[in-house]
Amino acid sequence: MLPMELAPTTPDEVLVSVSHLSVRFGGEFVLENIDLTLYRHQVLTLIGPNGSGKSTLVKTLIGAVKPAAGSVRVGAGLRIGYVPQRLHLDPTLPMTVKRFINLPHRQDPAAVERALDEAGAGHLLQATMSHLSGGQFQRVLLARALLTRPDILILDEATQGLDQRGTAEFYRRIEAVRQSYGCAVLMVSHDLNVVMRTADHVVCLNRTLCCEGKPERVASSPDYQALFGEMLADDQGANPLALYRHHHEERANAG
């Protein structure tokens, strides 16, 4: 028998399966009857208007929010790397990058160096967290997530507050990381323009599941256009999904 690492991965291996998930905050449903499957190597993007439950869904995946009904199943032994929406650090809490990376468990220094390099934060080990720029901060968070050698990388609006260049750079890095780690990526994003190019599968949320599929299919879905049409017309003057679907490469294992 082959050792685990050498075993060929089946193209349709399911990493996370969410079924009939509902989440309630104080009597009100913020998520209702959500079904979602994440496959190995897949890049899945969650989109939806503000307050549509994207972040809540992510928090349910990492165990921070308990479902009111339904289930979230993560494959046994799978490691999740989580990059949160910007982290607010209280100014009274002194914290260096080195200390932060080694929380809650001390890490092998060589592995820390490698993870920081891969996240583009190689020179920041000795820096103080509160002195980092928004982009540097996100790269440190990414490095910390990479230290778990994730099977699944979860990003919750990780580029919020970054400028356009910083955002594009961050996503290029995510793509490089995905290639080298062979992990699946599940991300929440507002950056429709940038993200759609890399997504295999788009899930559009609006408390319930609005529509899902390959980017071009979602883009042409009437539900999606009803939800985003106005916003897209205002902001971009064109539907970014329509613009970018030509660049989208089909992946063998896209759901």
Partner: protein
């Protein structure tokens, strides 16, 4: 040696400082100063109950402090305005406690001792209780240190690392109630929060890591407690307030030095 009241007082002060300083760092980082006040003020109600039920003051205070800290931390995150809620809790606990004490006719109690501490009256058995309580707090903090830090930085990152932040909150609540119970005799209910937050605040400008800040705060707390005790003895001032005054002076110095350092840096950079 323990026969000397000054030795007992010094030991009691040192033990309380050792437990209060690192816990105080969490109180500062998590913005729990008002939470500390509510718990500490509830102690006076604990004193009244203990005298009424004829149980040890320590047990009464610990019980009420636990109830208050637990109750408030359960209410937190339920959409109640925390600042207001804690203000209401802190001051009502103090008022109700004082009213309750006044009902205890026949018992002669020195209210000042509970409000401002009475460290010179610490007896041998008090020392054991204070020592045990302080050791328990330090053990709890040492055991959970990394998880507590993680939960303090981000709830979500904690969950993603397999840490339940609610559990860590409970640990802190427990430690806080314990510190209130052991510090009652040393600085009294009104100044316990001061002993928690002032040393941590004084150490902050000079530290780059949370561990360094905990150690720095411990140094400040030890200096304030032992120095305050000596000063109070020499100048015949109330001991608890003298300790806190010294801590405040150290905080002021720390702030001036760090601000002065920053200013000097800016001036040399310009020159």
């Amino acid at each position: 040696m323990l026969d000397d009241f000054m030795v007992r007082a010094t030991l009691a002060g040192v033990l309380v400082a050792l437990a209060a300083a690192p816990l105080g760092c969490f109180v500062v980082w998590r913005r729990m100063a008002y939470f500390g006040d509510a718990t500490a003020h509830a102690a006076i109600l604990g004193v009244a109950l203990a005298l009424l039920m004829n149980i040890s003051i320590f047990a009464g205070v610990l019980m009420v402090a636990l109830l208050m800290a637990g109750g408030v931390s359960m209410l937190s995150g339920r959409g109640v305005a925390m600042d207001t809620l804690l203000g209401v809790a802190a001051h009502s606990a103090l008022a109700v406690g004082l009213v309750a004490v006044s009902f205890l006719s026949g018992v002669r109690i020195d209210l000042n001792a509970y409000l401002f501490g009475d460290i010179l009256a610490v007896g041998r058995s008090d020392l054991w209780v204070i020592g045990g309580g302080a050791a328990l707090v330090l053990a709890l903090l040492g055991w959970r240190w990394s998880s507590l830090l993680m939960a303090t930085m981000s709830r979500e990152l904690a969950y993603a690392s397999g840490i339940d932040p609610r559990r860590e909150q409970l640990i802190l609540t427990l430690a806080l109630a314990m510190v209130v119970a052991v510090a009652l005799k040393v600085v009294g209910v009104l100044l316990i929060t001061a002993l928690l937050i002032i040393p941590a605040a004084a150490a902050r400008p000079f530290c780059r890591t949370p561990e360094a800040m905990a150690i720095g705060a411990t140094g400040v707390a030890l200096t304030a407690v032992t120095g305050g005790l000596k000063t109070a003895y020499l100048m015949d001032t109330p001991t608890g307030p003298t300790m806190v005054t010294l801590a405040a002076v150290l905080f002021l110095l720390a702030t001036l030095i760090s601000q002065g350092g920053r200013l000097a840096q800016r001036l040399t950079a310009r020159a």
